[in-house]
Symmetry: C2
Subunit: 543 residues, 2 copies
């Protein structure tokens, strides 16, 4: 039996596009002699469909689109992920299902048992866990079909009470097939291989694993679908960050493929962010981006990534200097735009700032210059960039990094604006590393931008280090608090100064109100701000 | 046995305050002869603690604070809600528990079985469902203690496979005690009484029900804790929107209390919003608000509610007229501020707008006036209000209503700014009704504000009705789509025009990106924008 893994980039709720992509993949697989083609979890709807799942109309359209795909299944079968209605009067209204399509029809429907409900996952919000297990017989083979998390429950700290494959294995299947929606973070591809291998080690069956690829707003799917033989050798690895279709002969699986050298963290983050920008624009139907280019490293890096995603000619940079902008900043910004070949223009915010300050003077009385005036500058820039975005139909890219977002070192409705945050899940130390990665062959980002001390340039001679600890220390504390969820005592016991730890954790917590209003952030780590990290705004813990 | 219900306003993560509140309630209950005092679900942490639950440090502090409360439990027992660690190596790390405190110690811990994971609830994100049921014996009585949702599973469409009270009833308890965190919406108090009565009807036991009161950012807890005798008569009903403590003699329960006339929807929404504003400021440690007063009904109503919550002297209104502002708008705004006795000042945005337009002219070329210029005005106001907020430590109140938020009729980083959205869950038709409710005894909001046609005044003679359908039609379509989750075909079949329905639903969906960046919204309906409604930004369903 020949099995095709189809790794496609779906569009949430775009049934026509998703269905047509599948139909053409079926035809391609058939031409390559495949007997069965495997699509991803919830492929028909795109993942994650979120609360669209609460609409009967949406669920009905999923079913109808799957029926359309089934019509193409002649002389080939397909496995397609879709939400289906739970016919029982008890339990959640839906199942997260895998449909087995054959002979032009939906022949069987199997359901997911283990429903990830942590981090960015909300599956128990919608789905009833399956408790009825069976394999599917097809062309003399018995298929153990499971959905994503159902084969992940092999670790030491098990989140669930059952292991679905333990049930299916009792029916003596010939092969394991898992349809998945496993989003990227920079360690996920390795984890995925480890868990797949652990399943083959345990059940001694070949395994075919079909993942999504492409970005769904903040969630990035890196693909990397896999095939294993029964001897726990990886015999197939589909593209990363790109669509792919590969056909495997179950009776004659290829030799073990040696993964290329494990990709480095920066290469992975780079590829993920470029895909994230590209798909965000494509799927929303936009072509052009605008951003404010300060001469600093965050906006420089954002611009390079956007240029790779959209084409340099589609990224419009605006230099928005104030009286506090240094000459080198303006030059660094111009050099970058020239290196890339992107259009750039300059608008001084000086007179706008002055006109705002003048109107506020009678109300501010003689109170001294402080954060209010600093923020006016950032917000004047925000107004200009949004005006350009509105006038020309550009999407504004946000350039904040994870470190400043964590401690609230940014102006709400100012530099925190944007349709998409490109670097909001990248700590400042990694911003530097990623910039060096960009320059690995030639100077694209001016080295001066990378090497000078970071500054917001909102008052004379300001430096980030005036108000923040060094980024290498700050970022380690943040990583322990955010990614590893360590409390103050645990972090202090790692050797960090007590006052500093308390100050940093307090900054993170009291700035929850700002992060509540930030753009969606492309997720590259195990714990990004946004849908995967849900914190109260009004609270008194560590603050 | 005398049982006290303590209905308190907790502060998330403020263990010292929560613990002290409980200790003083214990002392008060003891003085009134109580043998047992019942606090709410997750009372020790405040509800909802959200991802703070993922921190061991947080969980440890919950336990320690509960131990502190237990020390006060001498000659009186207490039931306190807290998260506890799941000692098993399988399943989620925590339980949502009820601790039974007696003789200075935590004597028993019981866990919640049914974990609401829908709308604003995320409990299965954190908690393992309980499967071990037992009652607690105390002073010759057997107590059936349950946590919130555990007694809600009585409806026709059951979300869960078990009914915990069916397990507990087998041990022949004498009384049911339920600790809850049941947030307000304008129909919830009635639902709560119905479900409590249904439990007593079924199990023929007295029931004591302890709820939270107070606001936790967007979630409003209205209190309304209840006591029933075994004959299904409601014999106690604690305060709404206020703390309360009442003691009941189990052997000698009072007569049925007749609920006062069922409060009207507008009175409920009014009280909820005032509490929401008040607690948001109190718990964040702020006293003063700022808002832009346009002369329109949304900002007028917001200002009245804020004045009730914070005192009129603490609400600073700014009139921010442009060349498009009508004279009557300015007068209406001034009249309102004078009626309330609030401070108000005026800043024209004309020269700021002109300085922005002047700088943009070379870049805009000769493109015609459009939405870009309209938004500049809204954003100029946003910059001024945030500058005042920053300079004086005021929280900016957002004045957008649910109808405009739904269809994207508002400017991101302009009038959509604010620390808290007061009316974001109130449709425009209800904004009018609420304004009339405010004026029920005297003219507080100028009648002219209520009676004139709504306008954003961002271009000459603009009216909302130029680009939107009449609000009574718009709001009904929105209600069917948002609260009732009806799809296009279902709404059209109710008699609405097909093009209009499609247009409105599309507007809702394509404006998800704007709502992603709006302030937290005080929730008063069954489906508010925010944590209870989770939609993809990049999607193609109905758009």
């Amino acid at each position: 039996m020949k099995i095709a893994i189809a790794q496609l980039n779906y569009h949430i709720g775009n049934f026509e596009s998703n269905q047509n992509k599948m139909i053409s993949a079926i035809s391609k697989a058939k031409n390559q002699g495949a007997d069965l083609i495997v699509f991803a979890e919830l492929a028909i709807s795109g993942y994650p469909p979120r609360d669209f799942l609460e609409f009967d109309d949406f669920i009905d359209r999923c079913w109808k689109a799957t029926e359309e795909v089934a019509k193409s299944c002649k002389d080939i079968a397909a496995i397609v992920g879709l939400p289906t209605k739970n016919p029982a009067s008890t339990g959640k209204r839906l199942y997260n299902s895998a449909a087995f399509l054959n002979a032009g029809k939906i022949q069987d429907v199997l359901h997911k048992s283990l429903l990830p409900t942590y981090d960015i996952f909300d599956e128990y919000r919608y789905f009833e866990p399956n408790t009825d297990f069976h394999c599917v017989d097809y062309k003399g083979k018995r298929l153990a079909i499971s959905v994503c998390e159902d084969i992940w429950n092999l670790g030491v700290e098990d989140l669930y009470r059952i292991k679905p494959m333990d049930k299916l294995i009792k029916e003596n299947p010939d092969v394991m097939i898992n349809i998945a929606a496993s989003p990227f973070h920079y360690e996920q591809a390795e984890r995925r291989k480890t868990i797949m291998k652990a399943n083959v080690d345990k059940y001694h069956l070949p395994l075919f694993y079909a993942n999504h690829v492409g970005a769904q707003t903040e969630l990035l799917f890196d693909g990397g679908s896999l095939a294993f033989n029964a001897q726990s050798e990886m015999v197939g690895e589909l593209n990363y960050f790109d669509e792919d279709l590969q056909v495997f002969d179950l009776e004659n699986l290829p030799k073990e493929v040696k993964s290329e050298t494990k990709p480095k963290k920066m290469a992975l983050i780079h590829d993920a962010l470029v895909m994230g920008i590209k798909n965000y624009f494509q799927k929303l139907g936009f072509k052009k981006a605008v951003l404010g280019l300060s001469g600093g490293i965050d906006s420089a890096l954002t611009m390079v990534l956007a240029s790779e995603a959209l084409g340099a000619e589609n990224v419009h940079a605006f230099l928005l200097p104030s009286q506090y902008s240094s000459d080198h900043s303006i030059k660094d910004a111009e050099d970058l735009a020239k290196n890339l070949g992107s259009p750039f223009e300059t608008i001084s915010i000086k007179s706008i700032y002055e006109s705002i300050a003048k109107e506020l003077k009678p109300h501010f009385k003689d109170l001294p210059f402080n954060i209010a005036e600093e923020n006016i500058q950032a917000r004047a820039r925000g107004v200009l960039l949004m005006a350009l975005s509105n006038k020309f139909g550009y999407i504004l890219l946000n350039t904040s990094n994870k470190s400043e977002s964590a401690v609230g070192y940014g102006t709400l409705y100012g530099d925190m604006n944007g349709g998409l945050s490109v670097l909001g899940d990248v700590y400042k130390v990694d911003v530097f590393e990623l910039a060096r990665y960009i320059n690995r062959n030639e100077e694209i980002i001016p080295w001066n931008t990378i090497n000078k001390p970071p500054s917001a340039e909102l008052r004379p001679d300001q430096k980030d280090s005036d108000s923040l600890p060094d980024y290498d220390i700050l970022d380690t504390i943040l990583f322990q608090y955010i990614e590893n969820r360590k409390g103050p005592r645990e972090i202090i016991s790692m050797g960090y100064e007590e006052n500093l730890v308390n100050r940093v954790l307090k900054l993170v917590n009291i700035n929850e109100y700002k992060r509540y209003q930030t753009p969606p952030i492309l997720r590259v780590s195990t714990k990004a701000f946004g849908m995967g990290r849900r914190m109260p705004i009004v609270a008194k813990y560590l603050s």
